[in-house]
Symmetry: C2
Subunit: 368 residues, 2 copies
């Protein structure tokens, strides 16, 4: 668990715009109080009933299985930063557990808001594959557990917004060009209008960091899982196309501006001595964009995805092996960033009069 | 005239805080209309009377002597950016001329606001030397020209604020630490209260750029030149001491913060592709501060002073040999800065855990 999963750093996936796809299903045991209502002993009973079944799943060989009350807050925060457990679950007391497969693609949370939440994440836009996996998991579990299901309402959930399919499908998109070209408001408004939710990096109520936006379905009722996923994929593809077009247009019409922004991000990351995570995300986002636009080698994108994970507070502390005050974190965050940027050549050729000196395919001569 | 003068780049002077000292004297011919009131023919007559006398001064061998109407606006602007003529004079029509010695320390403007304005500039805090020179110049001129002088009022000038001594003494101070530590308002208020004026880089009505502030005497009447200069030097020394103390305190108590700011300035100057002059000044100012604090070799200060001259709009165009749109200037300005920064090693050692790797005397380890 010390290293991030492949999906976190976008290996082997075309994820220049759609970084990850995620599906989660909410399930509850029949005739048992929901976790928020249940007494502690009931919660522990639920955990003891569900956990062995989950651990027995064929995907869970050598899985990470952990009662959350046994983790300290930093360890829990690491799981939150990896999107493997929710913030809500991290705050929960006794009776809560997480079972995560070795590849960190499948995560089952016991006694979060619901008795069971299962989640699958993939790099790139692969909602269907993620859903197929969860479907299999769900079917396996149903052979051992009896879930609360109503013929009219579908799966019963603690919060009515999850009623029905119990499914939330979402994708994390990197939309720097839409932000830089001031089109983001318009695009996100259009997405909201057709009933999808747009959120920041950590879901509901969080701000967008590093030009990352999460698009997900709002309704779980009255539509099949397939229909929801189809609709979502269509919209995500449209948004991703907007982003790609905005990137191309920027390179054609405002190459100087974008070279400048990427150069500045590179310069600041290379030499600043203090970074809070919000600012760091903003600069890493531009380096990631630069990698897609040919200013850096393509594998730089993976470095950026990895950095976005590593510079988060709990990850920093895990790496340092100790709790750290925010001020100290800002210093270490800057050290990590400077260190990692050293492996990266400057984005632009300073001798801008000599086209022949460019070593990138395209994006290294800003002054035309 | 293509190269900046020594005083502009602070060679051979302790000018870490006080960059330059400047004295100017205003003189008018007796019984002739002031330039703003005079007809064109009168102005030309005045010029033709004064100019040969000025050119004959022993300091003016091989001087630059130029009627301003013969210069294009870019050439005039270069002289303004070097503080060799005033903005007002650059805007004047026929009958205006400037005579500037080869060292660009002595500049005589004919038909500016007054018939004659003589100015002397030095690097560092050397108001008295500058004044001594002007005194000699003044005496030499008085052997050939009859200046309007009233026993009660002293030298008569077009604007009553210059009446009396006709002298304006000023110094340009670099006060980044007072700005960064939020003490600047207080200090400048105190300076204003005792009757001195504080202004930006180009005098009256201009903003402070690059943490540069000009302090000058307000009153020219009722006090001798010596008394004015004494008072001004005392105050300037006090302000400079405040600045030095603020720098020391910052290095002791907030080395991380200041290392960060200097590192960022270095990173941005090294990799940005577009700079307006206001932003460029701000970053160069921090590099200049860094040079004084040991983050860079000391001669970096001269590089900064030189850059502050070179990146101004008219200088940029002079270097390019052609007029340039602001957008194009921003590109060339960034090129010059990147190019010059290449000769400068990074301010801080990235490997902050290994003290032995530091090559600066002091300022290269921000993380304590």
């Amino acid at each position: 668990m010390k290293h991030p999963a492949d999906w976190m750093i976008g290996k082997n996936a075309d994820n220049a715009v759609v970084i990850t796809s995620r599906i989660r299903l909410a399930r509850n045991l029949r005739d048992v109080s929901f976790p928020g209502w249940a007494k502690k002993t009931e919660r522990v009973e639920v955990m003891n009933q569900i956990r062995p079944v989950v651990e027995d799943l064929r995907w869970m060989k050598k899985a990470f299985s952990q009662e959350l009350s046994e983790l300290d807050s930093m360890q829990k925060q690491v799981l939150v930063e990896r999107h493997l457990i929710s913030r809500e679950q991290a705050a929960r007391a006794a009776g809560s557990a997480a079972v995560i497969d070795r590849g960190q693609r499948l995560s089952l949370m016991i006694n979060e808001e619901d008795h069971l939440r299962m989640q699958s994440i993939r790099a790139g836009l692969h909602l269907r594959e993620a859903h197929d996996l969860l479907n299999e998991v769900d079917e396996s579990l149903e052979q051992e557990l009896e879930f609360a299901f109503d013929r009219q309402l579908g799966y019963l959930t603690a919060c009515p917004t999850n009623l029905g399919t119990g499914m939330r499908a979402s994708a994390m998109l990197h939309l720097p060009a839409l932000v830089l070209s001031d089109q983001i408001g318009q695009v996100l408004q259009a997405v909201s209008k057709i009933g999808l939710a747009v959120r920041g990096l950590f879901g509901e109520g969080t701000e967008s960091l590093g030009h990352l936006f999460q698009i997900s379905n709002q309704s779980t009722l009255g539509e099949s899982e397939d229909a929801i996923i189809n609709r979502l994929e269509r919209v995500i593809n449209q948004v991703a196309n907007h982003e790609r077009n905005a990137r191309l247009k920027m390179m054609e019409e405002e190459k100087g501006m974008i070279s400048d922004k990427i150069g500045r991000a590179y310069g600041i990351l290379s030499y600043a001595q203090l970074f809070d995570s919000i600012e760091a995300f903003a600069h890493i986002s531009l380096i990631r964009l630069g990698a897609d636009l040919g200013f850096f080698p393509e594998e730089t994108m993976h470095m950026c995805d990895s950095l976005m994970m590593e510079i988060q507070p709990a990850h920093l502390q895990m790496i340092a092996g100790t709790e750290l005050e925010p001020e100290k974190r800002d210093i270490i965050r800057a050290e990590i960033l400077r260190d990692r940027l050293q492996s990266l050549d400057a984005p632009v050729n300073n001798n801008t009069n000599n086209q022949a000196e460019g070593d990138g395919p395209d994006g290294d001569h800003p002054n035309e």
